[in-house]
Symmetry: C2
Subunit: 217 residues, 2 copies
DNA sequence: CCGGTTTCGCTACGCCTCGTAGCGTAACCA
DNA sequence: TGGTTACGCTACGAGGCGTAGCGAAACCGG
């Protein structure tokens, strides 16, 4: 009996692998994902074809279909790897931490393979629940972890008050995450304007002090 | 000599139309855009085909290609019409105005034809400058006008200080726009969580007072 | 009323991509 | 060595893309 479903192939979900038979080439996985990003840069989402990706990666097209159900899932995994480098170094203050993570996040979004791939899979996920779940675990949850860490770090420093109850803490946390990630994505992809040091400083000032205080630095 | 380019067809850019010959059917335009939205709901972006749209609209496929260069531009125009209803009623205070526009904006994004279409064309625009410009003039600029109006309204009320110089005013304005629009879009499409009254209130409180004040209401 | 002009519906076409099936071979394990 | 799985390759039907060509319809100026 072969594997019931093509299943999730990439290393991220390496669950029960049978001990018999020829193992899947890990090099092929890496080559396919790299080829996918390369094709995203040159062709964008709509003109990207799986046959072209297979050709670039030096594997057969059938190998590609054995590991990923389709174009959507492949691109999610290819883009997700870009976010592996996202970290949150401790810069001493909440303001500095926010500026730092904003600039790092924006640096990833500035790469064309992320620009053209990310929004496309989000669009597809509106009619595909399993794809949305894949995006959530592979990309979104990873970013969220950073915001959670930065918040509790600021609370240890005394820059933010402790949360009164866990329910309110969760809601406040989700809100902050959407504001930070959404603002950077919108600035970068929709407004198509650069997220540079000036913008990061202005954004941090707004997030910390709000509109009521002096909006201009 | 026929028209040099297929040109921008929809009513939005109705420039120099020749006075001779059979006029283009305005009813066909409306039917095509409505059919596009209907197909977006049922099929989403990737499975939407122009042949299917033509069939739904009751026009020939060639008619469709005579008016729009391709799928991208057609969907931009179809989605843009959804934002026509976006307004900013005066609710007496800056906080109430923000909550109102957030909820109205979210109501549009909750419609499946907007969800699946908007992100897709934004993704495509990363490699197509003319498409990005089309999105900017048809969709983004329209939203921006509302934020500009709300800001000056709040300044007349004395809720916000006047801007020191025009350059800082522009930068502050662009920032606010990206934060508001980006946060709502991210919450709605990426986090896939509802933008309800509670979220709108929490977001407004954060935007006005910042993280420094009490984050929980 | 009529000739010029443009749009429209329809059919047909070559090109490409999709996703799968089938086969022989290669790699790994007990 | 035999069993099992992955791989490369070829081939295929299905379907969308975007265009060309045709005759008919609609509108305008003379």
């Amino acid at each position: 009996m072969p594997r019931p479903t093509p299943a999730s192939p990439a290393g991220r979900a390496g669950a029960g692998r049978p001990r018999n038979g020829r193992p899947r080439s890990a090099a092929a996985d890496a080559a396919i994902l790299a080829a996918t990003r390369e094709a995203l840069v040159e062709l964008g989402w709509s003109r990207l074809t799986l046959g072209d990706v297979a050709l670039r990666a030096g594997v057969a097209k059938t190998t590609l279909y054995r590991r990923w159900p389709g174009k959507n899932e492949l691109v999610v995994d290819a883009v997700a790897e870009l976010f592996d480098e996202l970290e949150l170094p401790d810069r001493g203050s909440l303001a500095a931490d926010i500026e730092g993570v904003v600039l790092r996040f924006a640096a990833i979004l500035a790469r064309p393979e992320a620009r053209s791939g990310l929004m496309a899979v989000v669009a597809e996920s509106t009619l595909d629940d399993s794809l949305r779940e894949r995006i959530r675990t592979s990309i979104v949850e990873r970013q969220k972890r950073l915001v959670r860490e930065g918040k509790s770090r600021a609370q240890r420093r005394g820059e933010l008050p402790p949360d009164p109850d866990p329910e309110a803490a969760d809601r406040s946390f989700d809100l902050i995450f959407d504001v930070v990630a959404g603002s950077v994505v919108h600035r970068s992809l929709v407004s198509a304007a650069p997220v540079d040091a000036t913008w990061a400083r202005d954004f941090t000032a707004l997030l910390l002090a709000g509109l009521g205080s002096a909006p201009a630095r």
